[in-house]
């Protein structure tokens, strides 16, 4: 375990020294500034509207849509960060000659993988949690709207990004850095497409589309976690507003439940075991 900690610290130092974090923080601040601008403008705009039938709560609709969009962006940025921190961790580093001096040490390959995952997980989960919290506060301050559940959506994003980091680490055992990066973003895109298909299937009541979307979101649980997060934003909202916000931005909101969390943790474990088995067999 101490070997894994050494590697995790090494990965964290690398992220800091290579100015990855500086670039990420600067660009994220720019994103949040734009988000604040847009959120204020959107709430100002909808303030004047009044639904005569009073079936639509414009503040809930605006707040949940904007926060949902920011959650999608946060998941995307977290995925970029997670994959860039891990995509070359094994084969990429081995091809460059960086890995061999570390692997020959008594620390062991499992600890090395675990350390790389922990380092990436620490950076990505902190980042995603911080951006989600910032977006939440900006939305609340701009429109005096707060989601029904605050912790669950953020936690879903954090675990979703951990799943992406684990998949990227697994891919790094078998693929070159470039191929792995492409594969991870295609998986991310597949998850997004599945969410959109589910949204269309739900709106048009096409069972096949809904089934495909559901299977995909379980195969790629970061998507299911994101959808569950969207759902948790407006869990207690009913009526017309509830129906509309359920459609959600970039993939429909779907209830997750405890089984999803259990599956996500199991999935992480299975991906970790597969990476460990693959790495143990790899000649360097």
């Amino acid at each position: 375990m101490s070997g894994a900690l050494v590697i995790a610290r090494y990965a964290l130092r690398e992220a800091v020294r290579r100015r990855v974090l500086v670039v990420v923080v600067v660009l994220t601040l720019a994103f949040l500034a734009l988000y604040a601008l847009g959120t204020n403008a959107a709430f100002d705009q909808v303030e004047g509207y009044a639904d005569p039938a009073q079936q639509l709560d414009e503040r809930v609709l605006t707040g949940s849509t904007l926060l949902g969009l920011s959650m999608f962006t946060t998941l995307f940025l977290g995925a970029v960060l997670a994959s860039f921190l891990t995509l070359g961790a094994v084969r990429g580093d081995a091809e460059r000659g960086l890995l061999q001096p570390l692997v020959v040490r008594p620390v062991g390959r499992t600890s090395l993988l675990l350390g790389r995952f922990c380092g990436a997980a620490a950076v990505c989960s902190s980042y995603v949690a911080a951006v989600y919290l910032a977006a939440l506060l900006i939305t609340g301050a701009a429109g005096d709207w707060w989601p029904d559940r605050i912790v669950a959506p953020g936690l879903g994003l954090v675990v979703g990004v951990l799943v992406i980091a684990a998949l990227s680490l697994l891919g790094s055992v078998f693929l070159s850095a470039t191929a792995n990066g492409i594969a991870i973003f295609m998986l991310f895109g597949a998850g997004l497409a599945a969410g959109l298909l589910g949204q269309i299937g739900d709106a048009l009541s096409v069972d096949t589309l809904e089934t495909v979307a559901s299977v995909c979101s379980w195969l790629l649980p970061f998507e299911a976690l994101y959808q569950a997060g969207l759902d948790a934003l407006t869990e207690d909202v009913g009526g017309v507003t509830g129906v509309i916000v359920q459609l959600g931005p970039f993939g429909g909101a779907q209830e997750g439940g405890p089984l999803l969390w259990l599956w996500a943790i199991t999935y992480l474990g299975l991906v970790g075991l597969a990476a460990r088995a693959g790495f143990a067999r790899r000649d360097l």
């Binding site: 020959v104 008594p106 360097l284």
Partner: protein, 278 residues
Amino acid sequence: MPPAFACRQLSKRYGGTQALAGVDLSVEPGELVGLLGPNGAGKSTLTKIACGLVRQSGGEAEVAGARAGSAPARAEVGYLAELFRFPDWLNADELIELHQALAGSAGGAAERAELLELVGLADARGVKVAAMSKGMQQRLGIAQALVGAPRLLLLDEPTSALDPVGRRIVRDLLSELRGRGVAVLLNSHLLSEVELVCDRVAILLAGRIVAGGTPAELARPRGVEIQTGRGVRAFPEAGREEVPRIVAELVEAGEDVYEVRLLTSTLEEAYLEAVGAA
């Protein structure tokens, strides 16, 4: 005490390529063994199996009595790969510190200072890898390989990027390590270096050891050269025992004898003969 490294009938196959085909070799504590052979002979594969980077297909390999590649075996090994790279954002001191942590070495700053001093990088402890020449990085690589006082040092082309001064530093270092009881398995194409520092040499060809022994054993007599007042006289078939008779005959014939040289083949010639390229 078990050998620092021993392998029996060691074999390795990469797909359809037989990299090692039944190698038997042992390296005793304090012994410096040179591995020679053309590209693709299996030298790097052998050292990679010894340090656990590659799994053998057959046979056995042990480091200090432990199965090669196991954690106890890796704890006894220091390794410098032929194609290596260190994180360019670390400086020399930080790199050694990282490897101390990974090796579980409690040597601290004193060990770091000693190792950098040993490879002639005492003044470069704060220099980042990115700012180092290839030769400096190679010496730094040797220093990191020595972290934790390994019993077996595996060096794959450790002097390929070094200038003559750097090579001298490494030669002196290897001699010092031998004195400390550290065994060294040295892969090199620089036959003169191997001849100068190695106690024993093994020549690999197509995954098999085709010749082995001390450099003196590998060298063959090539006759006698005698410098006389009329020039150099060569006696290609003569051996050491015949020198007094030849000199006596020359003197009797009225020639002035100034110098007698016993000729032997060089390691390079022995190597070329072994690999069939002479």
